[in-house]
């Protein structure tokens, strides 16, 4: 019986997946539950188990294709219904030592053939010269010569598609200049050697990132604001406590947990940053799930710390550590990457001081923490970073500025201007900034 295997519904909100890689080949046997393929959804890779035992007939989808849930992926012939097995007894044994070529036998030409009605002595059958009778079928038409545009056979098209070959660049060695299967196979073998361009296949994650970014830019009107944060006290504080922390908690204390705590507070005070646009409504979310961007060799992954507001600093540090590990080892599950309500990106780790992040779809904002640099800051009051009044109206009172070398970290917020305006964005930034500046050294 032929069974069609479709892409199953694996997650509540999953509507499609990418068939990253086939793990079997057509013609192979497969056991029940044996993995058939790797499927990537929301940047997480899963294996698709076979629903039956049988023999794989053919694939219906090629590697790399993105398909909606429910799409038929392959066909399997179950073994139980193989028709018409002959009723062989248990006694039969396969003969040994008879190779195919010996068993094929030979056709005798010189012997007297059997008479038309059986045994007996029919007249001598002479081997008369065989006239070449006309072949009944029409001669084969040259594929390319007969049609105006180049014609490609199904095998040629399939191979070209599977391997990303541009057929128009090939010349054919077949009848009438037709591009043959062999021509395509040769091109595949030689690819990249003499051309000016190189084609790079899109990985499933790259494709997903591309689509998400495109969708976000398309749908969300993004505005941007930035603050400078004086993190000197934070730096000193961290220096002081980090070794004890590591010993006690078993994980490193980076700046990110501090930032996450500040973000949590900011979100609590400015709930519109923890919301999403829903057309007729803005949906404020009560729970805070922070997505933290992690750069991996495959691409940017964003695992989620759920209920970040309920975690202590140590809890946040541990969560960050664990998720980052798993991300880098390709062990994130679908749940790990779903459901973020706000995202934080440590672009500073890359040495960047200013960035303009893109708000992830279904969120209100994304905040970066840039590299911590040392700068000379002018301030008039302690704790204030406003530029001094260098001159008053009379030009006679000149307040000498105080300079200091401080640790500074920019924080950049991109936000969904449908949900909130610059004032609230700025207020959020201020809250975060104040929280981070409120450490005693």
């Amino acid at each position: 019986m032929r069974v069609t295997v479709e892409l199953p519904q694996v997650g509540e909100s999953v509507v499609e997946g990418i068939l990253a890689r086939w793990l079997k080949e057509p013609g192979q046997l497969v056991q029940l539950y044996e993995p058939l393929a790797e499927i990537v959804t929301d940047k997480v890779t899963m294996e698709l188990p076979s629903p039956v035992s049988g023999r794989i007939l053919r694939f219906l989808v090629e590697e790399g294709a993105k398909v909606p849930v429910g799409t038929p992926l392959l066909e399997i012939e179950t073994l139980s219904d193989t028709p018409c097995d002959s009723a062989l007894s248990g006694e039969e044994a396969q003969p040994t030592g008879v190779g195919v070529s010996e068993r094929v036998g030979r056709l005798l030409e010189e012997e007297r053939p059997v008479g038309p009605t059986g045994g007996g002595a029919p007249p001598e059958a002479e081997e008369t010269a065989i006239r070449r009778a006309e072949d009944e079928g029409a001669p084969m038409k040259g594929g390319a010569a007969l049609v105006e545009k180049p014609w490609y056979s199904p095998a040629v098209r399939r191979l070209a598609r599977e391997h990303g070959i541009d057929l128009e660049t090939l010349s054919g060695t077949g009848l009438g200049g037709r591009v043959t299967k062999e021509d395509v196979l040769a091109a595949i073998a030689q690819r990249g050697v003499h051309t000016e361009e190189e084609r790079v296949k899109i990985t499933p994650i790259r494709r997903l990132i591309a689509e998400n970014m495109q969708r976000s830019v398309r749908e969300i009107p993004q505005a941007w604001a930035m603050v400078e944060v004086d993190v000197t006290d934070l730096v000193l504080y961290r220096e002081r406590v980090k070794e004890d922390f590591q010993r006690r908690e078993g994980v490193k204390l980076t700046y990110l947990p501090f930032v996450l705590q500040a973000v949590v507070e900011g979100l609590k005070q400015h709930p519109r940053l923890n919301a999403r646009w829903a057309g007729e409504h803005i949906i404020l979310r009560r729970r805070i799930h922070l997505g933290i961007a992690v750069a991996t060799e495959q691409g940017l992954l964003v695992p989620v710390i759920r209920d970040a507001d309920r975690l202590s600093l140590a809890g946040l540090a541990r969560a960050v550590h664990e998720l980052t590990q798993r991300a880098r080892q390709h062990q994130l599950t679908l749940e790990d990457v779903q459901g973020a309500t706000f995202t934080v990106n440590n672009t500073g780790a890359l040495g960047v001081v200013l960035s303009r992040p893109i708000v992830p779809p279904d969120q209100a904002g994304i905040l970066t923490m840039e590299a911590i640099t040392q700068r000379v800051i002018v301030f008039t009051d302690r704790g204030s970073h406003t530029l001094p009044k260098v001159m008053d109206e009379s030009l006679s009172s000149f307040v000498a500025p105080v300079f200091s070398v401080r640790y500074c970290m920019n924080m950049c917020l991109s936000f969904d201007h449908r949900i909130l305006d610059g004032a609230e964005a700025a207020a959020f930034l201020q809250t975060v900034k104040q929280r981070l500046e409120a450490f005693s050294p």
Partner: protein
């Protein structure tokens, strides 16, 4: 291991099965005292007696009809129709009755019947000793159709047919009876019905065939090998059920296929094989599916040049394969 002809292999198969199982009965015209007009049952009357080797009246409908009655009672009859050309009256009992008995009784009865039929031409048989009629049997659900080309296959498949609980039409190309010889092992062996065999491996073009002309295909493949064209030869062996897996697998590998059979082209087995390939191996085809078959005239005529014009030959097959390889 000895070398046998096809007719010897067939005789051995029947003899072994009759020795093994007392329920096996042979019946047909001239099968007894004469030993069969092709000597397929030579010596059987002496060894097994009149009770098990029945010389029937000249009445094909009842040769099969009575054999069917034997099968319904649980015997395992082998009915011989002397020539395919005379099988038409037996179609009622074979295709109308035997093929439908298990289905029509919801499995209450089964029909372990074998009908052996010499067929095919190239022996100056004219219109009534050369006919191919495999397509008619091939079309009918409920029976199995076997057409071996070699002694080894003939023996193993006939034994399987005799042991099968379904009606099996066993087609024997009469020109292969004495003209095809090959190794047949001494010991007991049975081959599975429903399995084709790659008789010659290749990579560029597949040729699918059965019966006598399979050997012409093999000759063509060997000739083309020396020209650097790699041809894979698939022997269907069983026509119904077709071994779709082997057929499709070979074409998936080569991308080009030629189907060769002696039977008339239109509605022949090649048409079904071509349809299966178009349906299930479309993405692997690098050339149109080709058929080289007997022309659509009512069987090959008696006069030698006409018979030669009708028959597929090694030369015709070579030419077609060359053309296909170059496509």
């Amino acid at each position: 291991m000895g070398e046998k002809s096809v007719i010897e292999a067939i005789r051995d198969a029947m003899r072994e099965e009759m020795r093994r199982d007392e329920r096996v009965i042979v019946l047909g015209e001239d099968v007894g005292a004469r030993g069969g007009v092709f000597l397929a049952t030579q010596g059987f009357l002496e060894e097994f007696g009149e009770a098990r080797v029945i010389d029937t009246p000249l009445a094909e409908a009842s040769i099969v009809g009575i054999a069917l009655g034997l099968a319904l009672k649980g015997l395992r009859p082998i009915a011989e129709i002397q020539f395919a050309d005379f099988a038409w009256p037996a179609f009622n009992q074979l295709l109308g009755e035997a093929a439908r008995a298990c289905y029509g009784s919801f499995g209450n009865v089964r029909v372990p019947l074998v009908v052996r039929i010499p067929y095919g031409g190239g022996i100056r048989g004219g219109l009534y000793h050369s006919q191919n009629m495999e397509a008619y049997f091939f079309h009918t659900p409920g029976i199995k159709v076997v057409a071996p080309a070699t002694p080894y296959d003939a023996k193993g498949l006939l034994k399987a047919a005799i042991r099968d609980d379904n009606p099996v039409v066993f087609l024997e190309h009469k020109k292969t009876y004495r003209l095809v010889r090959g190794d047949v092992p001494e010991g007991e062996y049975v081959l599975p019905l429903g399995k084709a065999e790659v008789k010659h491996e290749g990579s560029q073009v597949t040729v699918i065939s059965y019966g006598l002309v399979l050997h012409y295909c093999l000759q063509a493949a060997r000739k083309l090998a020396s020209e650097g064209i790699s041809v894979e030869v698939v022997d269907l062996r069983t026509l119904r059920p077709l071994d779709r897996e082997t057929i499709i697998g070979s074409v998936q590998k080569t991308g080009k296929v030629l189907i060769v059979h002696e039977d008339n082209k239109t509605g022949g087995i090649g048409a079904e094989v071509a349809a299966i390939l178009a349906e299930e191996a479309f993405e692997f085809l690098d050339a149109p599916i080709r058929r080289l078959c007997g022309p659509d005239v009512p069987t090959m005529p008696f006069a030698p040049p006409l018979e030669e014009a009708y028959m597929p030959t090694t030369e015709k097959i070579v030419a077609a394969l060359r053309e296909l390889a170059a496509y």
